[in-house]
Symmetry: D2
Subunit: 414 residues, 4 copies
């Protein structure tokens, strides 16, 4: 069988995570880097029919004037990552993929998101349907030009403010009716992109805390169209540690009194999160899991601050105050110093490989077994990292000589 | 049914861990403290027929001149733990139990252990059999005096140097034959205590890295006598964190380059561990799990230093250097500040409750499902805390169609 | 010569700092504690004619229902400090001094300060003059009753919001004229207390970032009345470290890129500072010195959060990002875990002893050589702790066989 | 006046510190880097007649096969420092200077030092005089070839084991007599290099804890020959912090109970220090200052461990346990993450500039006002960094009524 051609469409394609993902894809395909950081390169996943790095073609939407190499050089110079020789070797791939970059869409952006945009042709959509149509046109053109077997859409765009409460109440019918009427709706751009993808039959992965496909109406759409999707908000640092440490306290019956997390970072993501509206989405995503993991709500504080000099080196200090036998107070502190985009990028590749396979297996709707990748996992309330990972391993261990029964009957992708 | 009477025999009975355990037992029985820190007080264990705190009567061996209140006041004054009112309320229990204290035994102690001893009547055994007989006499007398339904022996004594390599080669027959001959043998005192217990049909729990029952000959003895035992070296701080953090790196395919752990503590345990011989046992126990959890051996360093001013407040700094995508080096550091004996004490109560039940259920030999309690678990190579804990939960969830009483009388486990 | 009798009048007398100061005074006088933490107990200050602890009599203002023992027991139980035996031994002193407690005054308090007050007789002054008169009456009565040789007023009350900008413009004449007219003025309570003290000829020490005497009109008043005063905001933790570490970076020509400080604490002070208005005063005081010490303004962030479980154990994490040779970025992090009130209390005793001596030496106005005690020192722009301390040592080293010329002519108060 | 030509002769010329120094000299001369990290670039030193970077010509001794670019590329690749463009631009300077590299000498090296050497022509001196003569020949040739106005020798070689106690007892006469006899003497190589320099009239700077010129006989030699020298062991990280933090505790009368420092590093220096003999020199240098700064000896521990993955990024964790008012125990912890060689290199340039000027001013013997640069400063017992720095500033501020030229020719300082 000839190698499949898989399209990877990045929203926020010239951001740091997207840039690192593209360079990683190219460098991996060229054998220039080890697979460190890629979960799907672990032995447990070897038996799966996952796509190799050379199967992928990249395109995407962006609202800034840049190409795929821009964030790569930025990371190299400011955050001192990547060998120059690797960049040089991969340069042609990124240049070629950059030809598939298209102007992003904005819809009712808040100030922080407005300030980012410097690409003159950005579509400031007047109503949701206008955005959706434009996005679908771009995706269809990409699929045709590149003769893709599968096409996946990944949201790597800047974090948006939390969505209005009402949108979670919308039924799919009501939503579709409003779209047809070209009515205005309090939907963030991420949800318009997600709608465009799912309605077009393209899987959607949401790396961010933005709303994306995380509302009942889009879940219904995904099921109707039999498309899988995954999210929400990659779990790469402080929250990842919370999801292994909080279960420890729970199992040892040590009572967490307070959990304080202070995050500082200096990249564009941090710049956007410096806006209190956008920050609100992230803080919620980083804080919510604690009560679920502990079974009670300790005092908790999450702060995120933009500290320019740190660039991509996100640093988090967590102070965990807990009570043991005789009510004795004790303390655990940790400091995490990670290069944020390089923690995220391999997980993006994992997710597109896993979701592409899921689609071929005929699965659809939000995929709960991808929970270990996300701060706010969809379709599950499981936050314990070890348990989340066990889910993934179980899924991977399922034998599939033939497609699973359900999948067999399900409308397979073209 | 009348309440069972269970004997808890502590070796090192006037040590900090033992003292905190006794005070905790009394305070819990009197309803003066919450069950924080007790794993068996979690809901998952509620259905089990575990013994309540008032079922227990305490006795033990000690080589220093002290009673059970000595370590309690020491901890209160130096480490600022326990409310004075709680101590006062429990004082009579500890005084009563102290009447069961007996002179400990030493056999070929090294300098650090020699230096501890100030009780004039300590038995410096000339050969192993002499020690074993003496210990069994003490245990039998305790059981008779207190009309005990069950009696468990817990090693809470100072850490010994690593045992000679040969003793792990001894068959039970060879060992017993040597004992009969009153021959000298390179066995540490902890193993003599363990032999005395298992041979007498009393379960044995080893809280320390000392050899205790962790050699093939004693496992054989335990199986022959159908007695359960558990060990080795309570997992209460830095190593506990290793056993949840190392799996995280493994699952995320992040390569650990080096793991440095620096432990400082100021209690008597720390004082003994300051002797390089005794320290060697502990360092091995704290270091060995990494390779098993990661699947490769990163550079690792464990240091333990006696810092008097810290008293029981063990402080550990760990620096974990790891590699992510593109071979990028990142760092996690943590600082743990725990009151060591108060982390250990509730686990001692957990273990005696679980092992007592196991004995009634007819189980024997080293109990692998107690792995989550120990740095160097017996009868399993599982070091991942989440997986170890799942084992315990599975055991707890097993159905028991017949009442435990029946199980106790039914000799065997299949 | 008979021992002098010195009055120590505490505003916020039932707060943690005040309570710890009183207990310390009594325990020191009774020889129950060493002088650790007292700067004036260092050898360099031995030749000075400083008052011993038994010279002091305490009184004060408070807006809550409490006496001097209330904060002492609170600290003992919640923060695990003080030996019970010491408290018992000093109890009678604190009870006796508590008889000098008087209802505090409030003037236009903000919500946080209003919420604190539960003493029913608090004077909610209608205009500044009413408050000043009431305070002076209390002080005069105290001085008469106790036959005091000197009386000093110390502001240990909760931090107020920053004062209106205009008050720093007021001339003394304009202020006094407004007071006479019983006009309303945007003066915080701390300034009314300070005015009352200075106008009455009583030295004033401001432990807090509240305005107090730190405005030109009050400096003029102090000079006119020839009274010394000192302030502002005790330097006891994170800021103290800043004042020794920032000069290090400056001297080594290492460029500070960013300085992030995250403070968490759980006492009443922290509770009040949780109000954004009150917090603003403290943050300013903790942040301002950096530019002065470095000669440029790096990015800096100071956060203060109320974390109840910490009680008086203020914990600060600071992350200092700096640039060395070749623009290489490096990092220093520190964590400070201090019992806040016990860091402050001995400095209060130092300050009253030093200011009392200054007054006897005939000095007046803001005393610049006390800079090392304060985050926002008055009458000097010196923030380098080593240099500030050198000032103090120089002052202490001055020979005073006879009063200095200036002092001699100044009208001393008996 | 034409620019002076100053020779900088590095012992250990292909080590990391030496390499970074050379690259820095070249890059600074070419205007490619700011002067960050250079103390002598601070304004306070602007009036001094210090030599600019283009005045210097480099040569040196080495025992490994390498040139000046070797450590530069090593640092670039492994520790991710220096911009490649800067290295390229400076390459020709380093190549040119490399032509002045000469085979190093070894005299009774211990195992760690032996293991380093791979240059086949290294002189394994049979007796001290042989080494001294060889070194002086090399220095004289360099001076002649490059027509140098001044020549300074800097010891940047690997740390040696502590020297035998007796050598500190040797008088200069006895030493010289033994040299003449070609007798063997327990002198480390660093002292032979130092002797060669001072006897030849060339100033000597010791960056390391090796003995070098720090013995009475060499001080006598320096005074006899009227040559200045400086040392010992650059103060660049943990010890630097000790020298600003310990005075803080002293001034605040806070009693340090214990000070634990754990250093990890992965460069060649760390590799050599992994040998317990060599490590002993460094630990002593890092530990000794505490008692002097505090006035008493708290428990202190310094550990240094070789952790390969860290390369040049020396990381130190310090835990300071101290006692405040009422004997309350509190804690300060810090973590220092510095690129060791880049912290050292600018100080090397500072020292050669300052010592060259000192020589022209006619100063000789150990220079006490350079104390702030060193862990174990010569000719002073001052360890407080702020006070040490004040010494330097005072020296810099001294008036020089006669031009430096005059001073250079006038032999002595009064
Ligand atoms: N470890 C991680 O890096 C991590 C972890 C979890 C979540 N995330 C999330 O991933 C996202 C990307 O992070 P990043 O560091 O790459 O940020 P970035 O700012 O570098 O990239 C985001 C990009 O999205 C673009 N963009 C914004 N709005 C757009 C729109 N409507 N259409 C098209 N493009 C748009 C921006 O111009 C920018 O180039 C953020 O939301 C971040 O919170 C990152
Ligand atoms: N968190 C923890 O505290 C923890 C965790 C793991 C393991 N441990 C281990 O538990 C043990 C007890 O710790 P601790 O802090 O109570 O120490 P400890 O020194 O306070 O108590 C040990 C006691 O054992 C006694 N002893 C020594 N040899 C004896 C002998 N042969 N017979 C009878 N008594 C003897 C000593 O006199 C002492 O009283 C140590 O081995 C320690 O390493 C403790
Ligand atoms: N290390 C330190 O503790 C430290 C350092 C620097 C500054 N300070 C400052 O010292 C002050 C006291 O700190 P604390 O921990 O004792 O706080 P606290 O809240 O325990 O005590 C303050 C007391 O002031 C009282 N008060 C408030 N307004 C008053 C008024 N108008 N008149 C009379 N009493 C009034 C309150 O009722 C309270 O009892 C705070 O402003 C704090 O910011 C403390
Ligand atoms: N921040 C710092 O880097 C710092 C601070 C204080 C002291 N020091 C000291 O500076 C010295 C150099 O540090 P480094 O990191 O450059 O180490 P390095 O190992 O990279 O360099 C030392 C060099 O000396 C050479 N050498 C050893 N013995 C020699 C001899 N007898 N003759 C000639 N060459 C010899 C070695 O081959 C090596 O190239 C060490 O002693 C170190 O302890 C460094
Ligand atoms: Na212990
Ligand atoms: Na306070």
């Amino acid at each position: 069988m000839a190698q499949r051609r898989i399209g990877l469409w990045l929203i926020g394609a010239c951001g740091s995570v997207a840039g690192a993902t593209c360079l990683g894809l190219s460098a991996w395909a060229r054998g220039l880097i080890p697979t460190t950081g890629l979960v799907t390169a672990l032995e447990a996943f070897a038996p799966l029919d996952l796509d190799g790095p050379s199967s992928f073609v990249v395109g995407g939407h962006e609202v800034r004037q840049a190409d795929l190499l821009t964030p790569v050089w930025e990371l190299h110079q400011r955050s001192r990552v990547f060998d120059r020789a690797v960049i040089e070797a991969c340069r042609s791939d990124l240049e070629q993929w950059s030809r598939h970059l298209r102007r992003g869409i904005l819809y009712r952006p808040n100030a922080a998101l407005q300030a980012l945009r410097d690409r003159p042709d950005v579509l400031l959509a007047r109503h949701p349907q206008e955005a959706i149509t434009a996005v679908q046109d771009d995706l269809r053109r990409f699929q045709d030009q590149e003769q893709l077997d599968q096409l996946l859409v990944v949201n790597a765009a800047s974090t948006e403010p939390p969505a209005a409460w009402e949108v979670r109440q919308l039924s799919l019918t009501a939503l579709q009716e409003a779209l047809e009427r070209k009515a205005e709706l309090p939907l963030p751009a991420s949800t318009l992109y997600a709608y465009a993808a799912l309605e077009g039959g393209w899987p959607y992965v949401n790396l961010t805390p933005s709303l994306g496909a995380s509302l009942p109406a889009l879940e219904e759409l995904a099921r109707q169209r039999r498309v899988p999707h995954a999210g929400q908000d990659l779990k790469t640092g402080e929250t990842l540690l919370k999801s292994v440490l909080a279960p420890l306290f729970a199992r040892r019956h040590l009572r967490v009194l307070s959990w304080v997390g202070h995050n500082i970072l200096g990249n564009r993501d941090g710049w956007v999160l410096n806006d209190p509206e956008n920050k609100a989405s992230k803080v919620k995503s980083k804080d919510a899991l604690l009560s679920s993991l502990l079974g009670y709500k300790p005092q908790s504080l999450v702060s995120i601050e933009y500290v320019e000099s740190l660039d991509d080196w996100k640093t988090a200090w967590d102070h965990i105050h807990f009570e043991g036998f005789f009510g004795t107070k004790m303390t655990l502190q940790f400091t995490w110093q990670g290069c944020d985009s390089l923690l995220a990028a391999p997980l993006v590749l994992d997710l597109v490989r896993l979701v592409a396979l899921a689609q071929r297996r005929g699965e659809y709707g939000a995929l709960p077994y991808l929970a270990s990748f996300f701060k706010s996992p969809l379709a599950t309330s499981l936050h314990d990292f070890a348990q989340q990972f066990a889910l993934l391993e179980q899924w991977a261990a399922q034998q599939h000589p033939n497609p699973p029964a359900a999948a067999a009957s399900s409308a397979a992708q073209s």
